[in-house]
């Protein structure tokens, strides 16, 4: 910091540096060179630009490149007329660093909370027509992979009707894909993969999985997840690439676990209402987790990872189904033996349906 007050000026029209004196006249000022006078300029048009070594640099509104550089002890009458120095920029300077940091933290937390919680009440507000269009766009005829035989369709229809009160707005199909998986998609679409149906040892097992997926549809989980992903993409868009995606995935995972529990609860209720024993579903989960434990590379085992990745199989899930058994209740099989055989062999019988994905799914 030099001991003497110095003022330099660039007029923004040429690069010539001018040593000036500041002459204050009320709300205006002139810049005096030895032979020239610049101005008048209004103090209200002065903006703080930057700090350069020992000088504060001021600019003038609407005057590109106009600069007044002041170094040394600025006279108090001039200092009083100049705008405040900028350090962090607008809000942070006005609040102070500490307060601003706390305020930003609160706002960020609130924004994340809104994005995480609002889908639960926003999803039911999305009109069914949008939901259906989205489902149609995504599923269509699934590339001709849906299996259909008159008897198989009838069996599936019976199963759905026993598990849901409004089966008309559900589109449940079996797809000719050799993977143990089942998915719920927008527009009431539920797709059971043939690999899952073939692997099941009783119709009760399929009923439990199907009721679980119907649970996702009825609780609007798909639309919720979609909204949540979009909201997080917006809120976390500011964080660059990898860390944002990581946070996003972690949050999505924890929420999907909650959705899974809800879908399971829906499934148990539906099974109870249809007088179907939940023991089948429990043993199905049991078998899946055992197959997962013996991680190999045979074809059926790679198929499991599909269901496992979207449906983490925990001991507690299996136990929940076991506990929902009501002792002494007169359970009956979900389908008759003949119906079950028809459903299980539907994709083998239907030769028109295309098989597999036609590309590497993973």
């Amino acid at each position: 910091m030099s001991a003497f007050f110095d003022a330099w000026h660039y007029d923004g029209k040429s690069a010539v540096r001018r040593k000036v004196e500041v002459q204050i006249i009320g709300p205006q000022f002139f810049l005096l060179e030895t032979e020239r006078r610049h101005g008048p300029f209004a103090f209200s048009d002065i903006e703080y630009v930057t700090h350069k070594d020992d000088a504060d640099v001021y600019g003038l509104k609407e005057m590109d490149g106009w600069r007044l550089m002041l170094s040394g002890p600025v006279p108090t009458d001039l200092n009083a007329m100049l705008p405040a120095r900028r350090n962090y920029g607008g809000w942070v300077d006005r609040l102070g660093f500490g307060k601003a940091a706390v305020a930003f933290t609160l706002v960020s937390a609130a924004a994340v909370a809104v994005v995480l919680l609002s889908p639960q009440w926003l999803a039911p507000l999305i009109p069914d027509s949008i939901d259906e269009k989205l489902g149609d766009a995504l599923v269509g005829d699934f590339g001709g992979r849906f299996c259909s035989t008159p008897a198989g369709d009838a069996a599936l229809k019976k199963l759905v009707a026993s598990l849901d009160a409004n089966p008309a707005d559900l589109q449940v199909e079996v797809a000719k894909i050799d993977m143990i998986n089942a998915v719920a998609l927008p527009g009431g679409n539920v797709i059971l993969f043939d690999g899952l149906v073939k692997q099941a040892r009783s119709p009760d097992e399929v009923a439990g999985v199907l009721a679980h997926e119907i649970g996702h549809v009825r609780e609007k989980h798909v639309m919720q997840a979609l909204l949540r992903q979009m909201g997080l993409a917006v809120v976390l868009g500011g964080i660059d690439g990898n860390s944002g995606a990581l946070v996003n995935n972690m949050l999505a995972m924890s929420y999907s676990r909650e959705s899974e529990a809800e879908a399971d609860a829906h499934s148990m209720k539906a099974l109870g209402g249809a007088n179907i024993s939940p023991i089948g579903t429990a043993s199905f989960f049991d078998r899946l987790s055992e197959m997962d434990g013996s991680a190999g590379s045979s074809k059926s085992e790679t198929g499991i990872t599909g269901y496992m990745s979207s449906h983490p199989l925990s001991r507690s899930r299996k136990e929940a189904f076991e506990k929902s058994i009501v002792k002494g209740k007169n359970y009956k099989p979900a389908l008759t033996q003949a119906e079950w055989t028809e459903l299980k062999t539907m994709c083998t019988q239907d030769r028109k349906a295309k098989s597999g994905f036609g590309f590497d799914f993973n």
């Binding site: 660039y10 007029d11 923004g12 029209k13 040429s14 690069a15 010539v16 540096r17 630009v49 930057t50 700090h51 350069k52 070594d53 640099v57 600019g59 590109d64 490149g65 106009w66 600069r67 962090y88 920029g89 942070v92 660093f97 601003a100 940091a101 930003f104 933290t105 706002v107 960020s108 924004a111 994340v112 766009a137 995504l138 599923v139 269509g140 005829d141 699934f142 590339g143 001709g144 992979r145 993409a233 809120v235 976390l236 868009g237 500011g238 964080i239 660059d240 690439g241 944002g244 295309k354 994905f357 036609g358 590309f359």
Partner: protein, 362 residues
């Protein structure tokens, strides 16, 4: 009034210190975290303000007048105009794959890729234009009236021509694009002229290009000569295998060490040639860093990042700028009377595109 640049020690000098930079970088880091990354646009601005204000060109400091808000608006624009449509198209193409329409999905994805390729070129151009238009020296700034849309096309075809003959013309495309970019830029009333040549770059490029082959061939020759000198085949045995293993390790290590070194050697030559071909009116530029300087610089950067467990990353803008300015040189003279204000238009948004694609400075 003339300033003879060549009389001085160096036209560019940097006066900053990392301790001062730390007082900017650490609060920036904190604010960036608590705002979920949104503050980083203002953080970048504050860092540039500091670095520019500590940089002398001849007898006056540089000035950075960019605003955080500009960068933020640029980012939002990219998000709305490119990010969101991209997400939607990805969803659609996933749906198409799901339905088995793989060819249409591939076409859609290819179109999206081409568009991104084009926009990357435009982004490089506009980032340079933005930086020049926000850099002031003695109240005068740079800029360009070219929006860079043509450059985007040149970027596409020149890159492809560079890759087509098994990547042998990459040096040509790099130099040619550098010249295209800078020939469209100006400072004050003067247009830059960029006439760098690409042929002198080929020797270094071939060195880099041939390293993998040389290591491979060298390894084989060495192995054969070792085996030959080992005499009778039964004398080889376990020692022969051990030597073979050591050779393989050396080959892999040299690939990982020699290849980056060769790349740095190439880049140092590229940057020296590119800057060396730059002129502004009577000013000529030079970049004096040679391959060993670059190698030391990058080794030091890596050491800093590793030793500070990654936190040293926040000092990289400082290190990069210091390295850049310390090795920049200018010769010739400037007539400050003739250096009048730039009449190029100033875009109201920052380098959002480049920011979104996460490509480095300069």
């Amino acid at each position: 009034m003339n300033d003879d640049v060549s009389q001085r020690h160096s036209a560019f000098r940097f006066h900053g210190s990392w301790q001062e930079f730390a007082r900017i970088a650490f609060p920036n880091l904190l604010l960036t975290i608590v705002t979920l990354g949104i503050y980083r646009f203002w953080a970048t601005t504050r860092e540039r303000e500091y670095l520019w204000s500590k940089t002398d060109f001849i007898d006056e400091r540089l000035e950075w007048t960019g605003k955080g808000m500009e960068l933020f608006i640029g980012f939002i624009m990219v998000f709305l105009l490119i990010g969101l449509p991209f997400i939607v198209i990805q969803l659609i193409s996933q749906g198409l794959i799901f339905r088995g329409e793989t060819i249409i999905a591939a076409v859609v994805t290819l179109m999206m890729f081409l568009l991104l390729f084009y926009l990357t070129g435009v982004a490089y151009f506009r980032a340079l234009r933005y930086r020049l238009s926000r850099t002031y020296w003695r109240g005068i700034r740079g800029g360009s009236d070219d929006p860079g849309f043509q450059y985007g096309l040149a970027y596409m075809w020149k890159s492809v021509v560079g890759w087509l003959p098994i990547f042998l013309l990459v040096p040509w495309s790099m130099i040619s694009l550098w010249n295209d970019r800078w020939n469209a830029m100006s400072f004050g009333p003067h247009r830059f002229s960029a006439t760098a040549e690409w042929k002198p770059l080929m020797k270094r490029y071939l060195l880099f290009y041939l390293v993998p082959f040389l290591v491979f061939v060298g390894g084989i020759v060495f192995g054969i000569s070792m085996a030959a000198s080992g005499g009778a085949p039964n004398a080889l045995g376990s020692t022969g295998i051990a030597i073979g293993a050591i050779l393989a390790i050396i080959a892999v290590l040299s690939l990982y060490i020699v290849l980056p070194l060769a790349a740095l050697a190439f880049y140092s030559k590229y940057f020296r040639l590119a800057v060396g071909g730059l002129r502004l009116q009577n000013l000529e530029f030079d970049f004096r860093a040679r391959a060993p300087d670059w190698i030391l610089f990058f080794l030091a950067n890596m050491a800093i990042i590793v030793c500070t467990l990654g936190i040293g990353y926040i000092f990289m803008p400082y290190r990069n700028w210091k390295f850049f300015i310390d090795h920049m040189e200018a010769y010739g003279e400037i007539n400050v009377d003739e250096l009048t204000q730039s009449e190029t238009v100033v875009a109201k948004h920052g380098e959002g595109l480049l920011d979104a694609f996460d490509v480095g400075a300069i």
